[in-house]
Amino acid sequence: MNALRRHRAFTQIWSPDRGWQRPFTTVNHSDLGRMFLLAAVFFFGVGGILAMLIRAQLATPRSAFMDAEIYNQIFTMHGTVMMFLFAIPLFEGLAVYLLPKLLGTRDLAFPRLTAYGFWCYVFGGTMLLLSLLAGVAPDSGWFMYPPLSSTIGSPGINPDFWLIGITFVEISAIAAAVEITVSILKFRAPGMSLDRMPIFAWYALVTALMILTGFPPLILGSILLELERAFDLPFFQADLGGDSLLWQHLFWLFGHPEVYIIFLPAAGVISTVLPVMARTTLLGYGWVVAAAVALGFLSFGLWVHHMFTTGIPHLGLAFFSAASTLVAVPTAVQIFAWIGTLWKGRPEMHLPMLWIMGFFATFVIGGLTGVMVAIVPFDWQAHDTYFIVAHLHYVLVGGFVFPMLAALYYWLPQLSGRKRFFKLGETAFWLVFVGFHGTFLALHWSGLLGQRRRIHTYDAGSGWEVINLISSIGAFVMAIGFALVVVDVVANMLLAVRGSRNPWNAGSLEWAMPTPPPAYNFASLPRVASRHPLSDDPRIAVRIARGEGYLATPRADRREVLAVEASSGEPEALVIYPRNTALPITMSAATGIFFLAFLFKLYWLAPLAVALVAALAWRWAWSLGDLRDRGPQDVGRGERLPLASERPGAPAWWGSVFLLIADATFFGSLLFGYAFLWTVAPGWPPPRYVEWTPLVPVLSLGGAVLASGGVRVAEARAGFGGTGIALVICALGQATLIALAAYLLAVAPEATGHAYGATVAVLAGYALLHAGLALLFTAHALARLRAGYISDRRRTEIRIARLWCDYAGLSSVIVAAAVLVPGLFA
């Protein structure tokens, strides 16, 4: 088969639908990556307009442009849109588009999940936009501290849009994170061991794991605050056993990792682009990997530095001050590795490099002011002033926006296949750069002179008038610069001539394919032997197209990809991917109905939505798999590999593992919150505790043992008799756990009376939900067994059910213990 025939056949197999349905049924990562990027840029525009309104208001003292009520919505939405609807989705878009190409494979691990995540983002973002247009946008600041954001401070619907809308968008982030983690670990070109992975993949892996563990505390906090607002469960009310500090801990447990989730991908871009611009390789690849991992972990130990002024004892603050200074070390390792790379190479000032220089000049300042506010006595002066506003924009714009613009210009030839012709980009850069520093540099000073954050105006004679006027002028210059970037990019994409395939002479695989990329990326999957396969073999693109790699033969309309062993990169299984489908957008809409039910207080709708989502998920899972064992498959180059569904460690199983890691972090946060309220919140002990009864340990341990035991027997007996009975026993175990949860809910003290009762209700609800989920997975496995999808080789459904059964059992036992423990101590 020649290269052209192969291209046509693969295009036919992998293409999204034509016509208007395409965006709604596509599961192709290039499509979805572009859709994410476009939506993120749109929201950047929204956030930017909000910023312009802020600066217009603050340009002059005692401005009558906006009153406080409107201003509070504007600045809240500016932060919310930028952090949740621009920054994270832009990373998602870049990762979704780029990772399979960098890794030498044809798509991400779970193509339909990518689409589901995209639509959750778009629907959730639309909810927030509508609140802004309707004038009921959240107005308690982007971090929404109760009691101001709770019923007493904000009786209207405004915070509910935030709590519900953002949780919806976070589903998108969690979905993307599971996807990215499994893709990087299991879906690479054969031979791409861990040390041969492109550095961006390392950063994306760390970022994805941070999302999985950093977002759940916020999801928990949002749920608790919404429960307080909707049903009067007093988690954050000090007079009923709650504490507003609980929100701050949960929020910043998310919030600090969040900013490193934003920075790390940008650092990944720099680690990728800068060496290419310097015509050399990255200095200290292993050190940079270690630094990225260290940054990821250390960032989870900093959160209290956002709470330095809340009255925590000095020793407690000292831990976080020390950790906050230490985090500058892995950052410095990367900065100097990059500068060392420039020194060892022969750098050229192309447009991506210009943006990277902008990054250095800006982010270094932001990092230095960050070290300043890590010092507690100084933070006690700078906190909640414009010093912090200046610092955060220096690190976020300098550390994320500038590198992402470098990424845009660097990968634009890959995306568009064109050579940049219009040279507006350089002018745009200088406008943005000068405008940015004009806007924010002097705001450090006005903060130290006493200008607080979030005030909607200020008096003449305060000494800040000139600074604010210059800042507003700078903001308009910067806005013009960004607009010029858009014009430049659009003009180049539409009008420029076709360019060469690898204009930067880079060494990574995304440049070894036709540009713009075909739907299938690689006509055959190459075996790689180093970190820079394209540099080793400049003709690799031709050899790939000629079918010299794996999976070169289009077969029976199947979308085929190889799964590899995580460390060595040796291929271990053949994976078949799903076709185009409207299931993801439908399920996203059903999920949306669930959230809208809570937003508009139509609670009867919520269980219907849950049932709909469960039915769609069932259909989703049902569409894969086989009715008989297929055995080893020919994967090209004379090798044969089993189907992923016919061996342990299937990608779907790993997907559940990582989702459960996120779930466990949620549970851990809930237990932390419980312990926090018990030991720190005023107003304890509650009127009464749940009393010890032997029924509780019997039900919890009994249910757990039945469930976990039953599913293990089922797994061992798969393909022989007795599997069905074992699964039924497992289901009985879950029914027992459901009964336990129901019992706890029944004997819990009134949830609206004290935070203890409220927490018991949430803990019991959590156990109930997970027993229910495990039951669903078990029922699914039983149904698959009945229908003939299970054999001694094809046991993935049972293995996945086992994960959820074990988790439900373990979490129920912990819930039972947690509910009883304070009563036993008392």
Partner: protein, 202 residues
């Protein structure tokens, strides 16, 4: 309301720290920019010295600077941020949307609204509470800020060197009235303070 025009020992110590950090940060920034500029003038040979860049500049240099800064900061914290060590007068500041009222425990003095009177030249401990949402007690020229959190009492040590009026701000966003949520701290001579506590005029 400027932190850079201190009128009390805590604010003065922080201002001194600020100037030192600013100088250090400026030097580091210029150093990094110089390294970048020089990178473009050299022609590299493809070999990079990891021990210089990673170990020397990436690890040793920041660790040394950060250790020194951290110790200075923690020392300042121990010295200025810990209240209740001696028999400083105790006052109470209660915040609500959008006003402050102050009480003077240990005296029969009536509460004052919007103005806190303290003796000059000696430390005072302020017990900070909130009646509704989270606020923050901040007198930039005298000391750092401490939050007023419902259900909690946070204690801030405050000292003004000389008698006078000092601007106070609530420094935690609290809704539409946040802009005007301010107060004044008036430091009195010793005799005036005694007279005030006994119930005299301010």
């Amino acid at each position: 309301m400027s932190t850079l025009h201190p009128a009390g020992p805590a604010a003065a110590a922080v201002a001194e720290l600020w100037w030192a950090m600013l100088a250090g940060a400026a030097l580091i920034f210029l150093f990094v920019m110089a390294l970048l500029a020089l990178a473009f003038r050299r022609g590299g040979d493809g070999r990079g010295a990891q021990s210089l860049w990673i170990i020397g500049l990436g690890l040793a240099f920041p660790l040394a600077v950060l250790a020194a800064l951290l110790l200075w900061g923690l020392g300042l914290g121990e010295r200025y941020l810990i209240p209740g060590r001696d028999d400083a007068p105790l006052v109470q500041a209660e915040a609500r949307q959008w006003a402050w009222s102050f009480r003077y425990s240990g005296s029969s003095r009536a509460p004052t609204e919007g103005i806190l009177l303290i003796p000059a030249g000696r430390p005072v401990d302020v017990e900070i509470t909130s009646a509704d949402v989270i606020h923050s007690f901040w007198v930039p020229r005298l000391a750092g800020k401490l939050d007023a959190i419902p259900g909690h009492t946070n204690v801030l040590r405050l000292q003004a060197d000389t008698p006078g009026d000092y601007a106070g701000l609530s420094a935690e966003f609290s809704g539409p009235g946040y802009l005007g949520h301010r107060f004044t701290v008036r430091a009195l001579e010793a005799d005036d303070w005694e007279a005030f506590l006994a119930g005299g005029e301010r």
